[in-house]
């Protein structure tokens, strides 16, 4: 029984990692209707920026805020400079640009910082909280931060005119222009915010998996699966999806089919869920009228 509980807790901890990146994916999807494959690498890159700032002697929280700003600007700049020129290209051409961004960021980071593992500090205490040994204080704290981001995101999309305008611009750019929304800037803003959320994810993930250029490589698939299983247009769903994937994978690995196949089987289950509920567990059902 203990073993089961411990696996669940460990699963929640890794699920938190997936959830945080899944949120960034939801953000960019809400704003642009694209799934940005370079999201993880952008998060990784901005985490290195944070590392550099701290290496230069800046304390944690100022670094955190500064990194968010840098990430936001980076996101806006990437949209304006790299994505804008392929605005009208076929979707898959845009996907290729995402892939290009992924490899460029990965490679450039390795070049600048080398591939050697770097420890990344946590803002949370070292000693176990409430006697829980199976989730470190950082893991608990990171989940807390992810939930905070989630609430902020939810409020932003649900209740602010800007959030509404961003969703509108992504869904139907033509109509959005016709109500006076500056669609171009909405997309750039979406990129900026997604990059910011990614930076938070990176800074929360790095203390757990350590900082290296391939830090996010494995996480992307999980985050993508989490976002879809929860519903790509629903930030709550994405976070729940993250936890679900984390726990499911651990339980499968520990008790059902062993570690070698746990990823494959977890993915089969997720795809199975999507077959039954094509909009994810918590996503909006899309209606098309002919």
């Amino acid at each position: 029984m203990d073993a089961f509980l411990f696996q669940v807790l460990a699963g929640l901890a890794t699920g938190g990692i997936y959830a945080s990146l899944a949120l960034a994916l939801v953000m960019i999807y809400q704003a642009t209707h694209h799934v940005n494959f370079a999201q993880g690498e952008m998060a990784m890159f901005t985490t290195y920026i944070a590392w550099s700032l701290m290496d230069a002697g800046l304390p944690y929280w100022p670094t955190f805020l500064l990194t968010l700003m840098v990430a936001f600007l980076l996101g806006v700049a990437i949209e304006r400079l790299v994505i804008r020129p392929v605005e009208h290209a076929p979707v898959l051409a845009v996907v290729v640009v995402f892939i290009a961004l992924l490899v460029i960021l990965n490679s450039v980071t390795g070049w600048i910082y080398t591939y050697t593992l770097k420890p990344f500090p946590s803002p949370f205490p070292e000693e176990p909280l409430w006697g829980i040994r199976y989730m470190s204080p950082h893991e608990i704290g990171a989940i807390g931060i992810t939930l905070l981001v989630l609430v902020a995101l939810y409020l932003f999309f649900r209740f602010t005119p800007l959030g509404l305008a961003m969703r509108a611009a992504a869904q139907n750019p033509q109509s959005a222009r016709l109500v006076g929304i500056r669609v171009g800037w909405m997309l750039a803003l979406g990129w900026g915010l997604a990059a910011g959320i990614g930076a938070v994810a990176g800074m929360m993930v790095a203390p757990i998996v350590y900082l290296d250029p391939n830090m996010m490589g494995g996480v992307l698939l999980y985050a993508f699966a989490a976002a879809l299983v929860g519903g790509i247009d629903n930030p709550w769903g994405a976070v729940l999806g993250g936890f679900l994937v984390g726990v499911l994978e651990n339980l499968l690995g520990a008790f059902v089919i062993g570690n070698e196949l746990k990823l494959s089987v977890a993915l089969v289950i997720i795809v199975g869920v999507l077959l039954v509920r094509p909009s994810g567990l918590f996503g909006t059902v899309h209606v098309t009228r002919v």
Partner: protein
């Protein structure tokens, strides 16, 4: 086929036949790989370009094809040439079966399912229960075929011609398939699936068939690739292979037969070029190339060439042009 395209095709084949006699064995080997990739890309293009079903995991079918060839040669002593159709047949079935549940998935969800397939494949190949056949993490080393019938060719040259022959057959088959009713049905489903259904196109059948045929092409390519490289291992078929294939069809040109060839040239030679330019960050250079190609030719090399030739035509017959354009 018009006379002009026929002549162009014959010319291309003639040039392709001279290649192994004028370049080194190593280059011949590289061009063999180009042909292999071209077959794989044509397969992916049938699915993604023509039928609009995105696959981020086609490397999995390439891997299945490669392992089919390797296992048959290594364990059953099947001659190399016979493994190619066998790999194609296996992948046809596997692809068709995978295509059945995939029917219910669209867009991003299909992307996830195929992505998952691509990521899982190396793990499945390593799986204990299959180790007896797959050789587990060690992979399988296979022998290189020599030229038969006493042909005065070394094994690289022979393999090149063998691959060229298979590629020609596969391309002609693809050309026949895509120019006709099947091709039109695939495109109709991609563009207006509801309308296509209304017009009597059996969506489900065509979509799963597209998956099967696409996997068959890619599997044949995998088998040829394994024979050329003489080695298969789980590490040879990581998710990057799948991603590279996708990059190949986009840069070559979606929904274009010749695009497969351009894409193959790109994924074969541009990474090498990137490596020559910078050891420090070869991927960065590769990424920049990808972006440049997409910027300059958003509809792929094939699309750009088509536009160029149309512009040329328009330039030659400006008067005729205007008449056509009036709706």
């Amino acid at each position: 086929m018009t006379k002009k395209t026929l002549i162009a095709l014959l010319l291309l084949v003639a040039v392709a036949s001279i290649v192994p006699f004028v370049v080194s064995n190593y280059r011949t080997f590289q061009f063999t790989l180009v042909l292999v990739y071209a077959i794989a890309l044509l397969g992916l293009n049938i699915l993604t370009g023509y039928n609009g079903q995105v696959s981020l995991g086609h490397g999995a079918f390439y891997a299945i094809g490669a392992y089919c060839a390797a296992v048959l040669m290594d364990k059953a002593g099947v001659p190399y040439w016979a493994t190619v159709p066998a790999a194609g047949a296996v992948c046809l079935v596997v692809g068709f079966l995978f295509g059945l549940p995939a029917l219910r998935l669209e867009g991003l969800y299909l992307a996830l399912a195929t992505f998952a397939l691509g990521v899982s494949m190396p793990q499945l190949l390593k799986y204990k229960a299959l180790e007896e056949w797959t050789g587990g993490v060690q992979g399988i080393v296979i022998a290189k075929p020599d030229a038969p019938w006493g042909l005065p060719l070394n094994s690289d040259q022979w393999l090149y011609f063998f691959t060229l022959g298979v590629a020609l057959a596969m391309f002609l088959l693809g050309w026949n398939l895509l120019r006709g009713r099947v091709g039109r049905a695939l495109v109709a489903i991609r563009d207006h699936h509801i309308a296509a259904e209304a017009m009597g196109v059996h969506n489900a059948l065509y979509k799963s068939l597209a998956f099967g045929v696409s996997a068959m092409y890619t599997g044949v390519a995998g088998a040829l690739g394994a024979i050329a490289v003489q080695f298969v291992a789980p590490d040879s078929f990581s998710i990057f292979l799948s991603i590279l294939l996708l990059v190949g069809i986009v840069i070559g040109g979606l929904a274009s037969i010749s695009g497969a060839l351009y894409g193959a040239l790109f994924i074969q030679f541009v990474p090498n070029l990137a490596d020559e330019i910078s050891k420090a960050a070869p991927w960065a250079i590769f990424g920049i190339f990808m972006i440049l190609f997409v910027y300059l030719m958003p509809t792929g090399v094939a699309g750009a060439l088509r536009m160029l030739s149309e512009r040329q035509k328009r330039h030659n017959f400006p008067a005729a042009k205007n008449e056509e354009e009036v709706p």
